[in-house]
């Protein structure tokens, strides 16, 4: 099943003369319909209610909150990221379907901000997952948030917001940083390399020593299948 997400950067021979028109159209539509995952960290979250509700009204730009990562497009990281929180952010990020965008709001996500001395805080967010856009400030006002959103929309429409692909092409690098922080037993339920293969993004820097380490520790979750008969072991027990 070849349903790769196309972009102008890829050198794929395309026979349809209107292919670029369709690409343009789909990118335009995508940029006008963005769902933000309801997941916030730190203090920057307090700036989102005014940005979403009637005064600043993000919805006029087609931006809405969404409750599950499977349907969401944007992951907002709205403040300092403790080590424990970063695990949750990565789990959630990997559960989102591509194309997906990450926005770091507040200075803490850029360099740790006022927590730069803390032992429990991950200082540089973009070392652990690709970030499309930072909105700096402590905290940024709703105008700044909306300006950042507009910038992201322009990037998407122009085909520049492609950082999600970097997670697949440079997975070994990100995983290495994650392992350095969380220990070598670190794993999430998502099989990132299989997804990279699915999107055709498995490159030479996707795999490496860190993914090899992961494979040694990984305990995969098998999908729950529908079945009519219990396995032999179950019958013996009954």
């Amino acid at each position: 099943m070849n349903d790769r997400v196309q972009s102008p950067g890829e050198r794929v021979t395309r026979t349809n003369p209107l292919a670029h028109v369709f690409d343009e159209l789909s990118r335009f539509c995508r940029s006008r319909s963005l769902f933000i995952l309801h997941y916030c960290t730190g203090c920057g979250a307090i700036e989102l209610p005014p940005a979403m509700t009637s005064r600043f009204d993000m919805e006029r730009l087609g931006i809405q909150p969404m409750v599950t990562p499977r349907q969401a497009d944007i992951l907002l990281v709205t403040g300092y990221v403790s080590v424990k929180t970063l695990k949750r952010i990565l789990l959630t990020y990997e559960q989102m379907a591509a194309p997906k965008y990450v926005i770091g709001i507040c200075s803490c996500t850029v360099n740790g901000g006022m927590y730069w001395q803390s032992y429990a805080t991950a200082k540089v967010l973009k070392a652990y997952l690709p970030v499309d856009l930072y909105i700096a400030g402590c905290m940024p006002r709703p105008e700044a948030v909306i300006t950042g959103m507009r910038a992201l929309m322009d990037d998407i429409a122009a085909g520049r917001a492609e950082s999600w692909k970097r997670y697949y092409t440079h997975y070994d690098h990100y995983l290495g940083n994650q392992q350095a922080l969380f220990g070598e037993n670190w794993q999430t339920p998502t099989d990132v390399l299989a997804e990279a293969r699915h999107y055709g993004l498995l490159g030479e820097r996707s795999e490496g020593e860190h993914t090899a380490l992961l494979e040694r520790h990984q305990q995969p979750l098998e999908p729950l299948t529908m079945r009519l008969r219990a396995p032999a072991g179950g019958e013996e027990k009954a």
């Binding site: 599950t68 529908m226 008969r229 396995p231």
Partner: protein, 626 residues
Amino acid sequence: MSAFDLLLGLAAVGVAYAWVFGRHARCGWIITLVYAIQFGVLLSMGGLAYSGRTPVAASFGFQFLGQSLHWRLDAVGWFFALITLGVALLASGFMAGEWGRTWRARGGSLRGLHLALALNVFAMLVLLASGDLLSLFIGWELVSWASYLLMALDGVRARDAALRYLTYALAGAMAILAGIVLLWVEGGDLAFDAVARLLPGLPDGRLWLLVLLFASGFGIKMGLLPFHLWQPKAYALTPGPGAAFLGAISSRMGLFALLVVVIRLFGLDRLAGLSVPFGLFSARDLLAWVGVLTIVLPTFTALRQQDARRLLAWHGVGQTGYMLLGVAVGSDLASAGGLMHVFNHASYQALLFLVVAGILHRTGTTDLNRLGGLVARMPLSFFLMLVGIIGLAGLPPMNGFVSKWMIYRALIDAGSPLLFIGAVIGTLGTILSVYKLLHNCFLGQLRLEHQDIEELRWTQLVPMLLLAGVVFVTGWFPGLVLDWVGAAQAALGLPVLAHTLGGVARAHGGLDMIWLVGVLLGGFGVGALVFLLGGRARRVHPLDNYAGGHFLDSHTRYQYSDDFYAGLMHRIGPWYRGLFQRGEEALVAWVDLLSLAMQGLYRQARPALWLVAALVVSLSWVLGAA
């Protein structure tokens, strides 16, 4: 020997066989075969349902106190007998295989179950064929006691519930007997046509008394408000296939008797003429409003139940209200809807009770807070329950929609907005609670203790699949059932509904289910095409799930089904007062007190003296009256 003799004889053979060979391993299949033959005999009388054939009379009958008792099966009785035998056949098939073996291994009496079911079928056939009020009363008593046998099979709690039923049933039978005696005193003849000639001439007060006696007597069996309390507990505690049979058809015997006596003999016009102050409220309004209250209150009680069997049993009470409402409104559309709902309700209620029996069989519980996620292990059962609840909620394409649509439409035509709103509120409650049923049993998180359970066996699935087929096919082609319903309407003296195969053709908005279901399936087809050709679906493990970023493992409960509809209950919870329950308790307390007082009186003083005093008083009363 008429076909009805044969039918009753076969039912008696079934009873005798279950009595003698009930412990034999293959007994279940042979009894199922006997039911199948009975069903065939009944179908061979199928002409009854069409074109006003004469009823099939029994060749026996006898005289008692100058009354001639006789039995004959007319179109109404045939319609109810069809449902009775169909459900008995499938329920018997369900318990003949693995279910019965397990039930016996757990200490249940399979012989008792088969025998009680066969007795119920026999008693119902006797009742459905009654030709006068006295034979009706005999059949009525037989049915009451046969139901008691079926209810009392499963342990002490079931026996308590069955005794409670019996108390109600005896009170109802006394009311009916009082009505019959009154009619006998008035006219001296208990044949149906003689009573029908007698009734219009009676004064209003006497008629009111008769209507109240008969309606409350029959209403107790139907579970009409305020006599419904016995039903949910008794049906919920009956073993699975028995509950399917009772829930599907047993309490419909009350409706049958109500139709035959109150609707046919009294006549809806006479009931509408019986009115209290200034003609504002007639006996017919009383029936309709009792119907609506029976829809709304038990349905919202079902919403609060935590046990799947209780939830279904409460719905059984609630759906009876639709039938009574339709018949009480009495136009061609409304009464057809009410009668058709008897058939429809039997089909999906039996299906749902059997699915829940299957869940109980596999998991050992029907507690809605201890189930969940079973769709991964029992996918066919999930599908069957889905069909059943769509029918129960009255949504297309299943048959429950057709009968409910007819009742709604008739209420609008009759200009009764309040009754209409009541019926719709009842449907809202039904939709909410059946969603709870499906969700808590089959959707959500599969529990650790249910990881290794299996789908039901084919002996259990086939009866359920047949019922699901009936639910769907009679929803797609309701004309099949409306033929029988029309014949029953004619036999009851109600206006007959002109119908088509797809439903009702009317100048101003009819119903054509063939088109409606076709369009619906077409829509599903488009969705299925997009799903299948899109190829975007991906299976993930249930634990690869979003819980606010939490890492889930198999010991984490990430999905809760307890306290379902907490928000709704926050609003309407205080409205549940348990008024009927407390009323019943008060009554019981008073009777207790009274009997205690009598007992004390009798025991402490000299009994001989009291006997003599009572004798003297009664003798002087009798002599004085003479």
